[in-house]
């Protein structure tokens, strides 16, 4: 099935510093989604990337999809304490498992004020 490796597993930053998490796949992806899970909460959809080389922005968050559609990144500029949580990428499977949504291991972000 579709597998994605997400790094780093943990990231500790001072408030105001930037943060980036990466997802990498050995196979070409049709699309990739990003989710955020606040401590004690459930994952919440952030965005979906579909096109090769696509870049999307949401305020301080920048999402990129690689040219080969095998990797993606989420970058947060000038982190705030409200950014604390776990960030997951998620990819869909193909073939007989079409529709299956598989998540990366997640990156746990802590922000020190």
């Amino acid at each position: 099935g579709q597998q994605v490796m997400q790094i780093p597993q943990y990231q500790h930053v001072q408030e105001g510093e930037d943060f980036t998490t990466y997802c990498n796949s050995s196979t070409t992806l049709s699309n990739i989604q990003w989710y955020k899970q606040r401590p004690g909460g459930h994952p919440v959809f952030l965005i979906q990337l579909v096109k090769s080389g696509e870049v999307k922005k949401q305020k301080r968050l920048t999402f990129q999809f690689g040219e080969a559609k095998k990797n993606s990144s989420l970058h947060i500029t000038a982190t705030q304490t409200t950014d604390v949580g776990t960030y997951f990428c998620a990819v869909g499977a193909g073939g007989t498992s079409y529709g299956k949504l598989t998540f990366g291991q997640g990156t746990i972000l802590t922000v020190h004020p």
């Binding site: 049709s30 909460g41 459930h42 994952p43 998620a90 949504l101």
Partner: protein, 115 residues
Amino acid sequence: GAGVSQSPSNKVTEKGKDVELRCDPISGHTALYWYRQSLGQGLEFLIYFQGNSAPDKSGLPSDRFSAERTGGSVSTLTIQRTQQEDSAVYLCASSRIPTANTEAFFGQGTRLTVV
């Protein structure tokens, strides 16, 4: 409904007992997913449904785990003869169409503790 609803929110059970976890997806959502999340860990895929059928059951950890979905709506995840390693948060999600190209909406989860 307004969102994905899971019940119970918390369940404490004795080792060896059976438990049923319920998921009520957003009305009209065709795809339904079950995941398991241990403390501080990622989302472990268990099973997903397209309508009432489950094309992929490969994530179910053992034959003690089963799931069904009826009427294209409510789903039940059953764990028989629970073990302590089954303790985790069980998350359900639904999406409008089963292509993994649309946003998945998650419920609040059921926290299962096996003592």
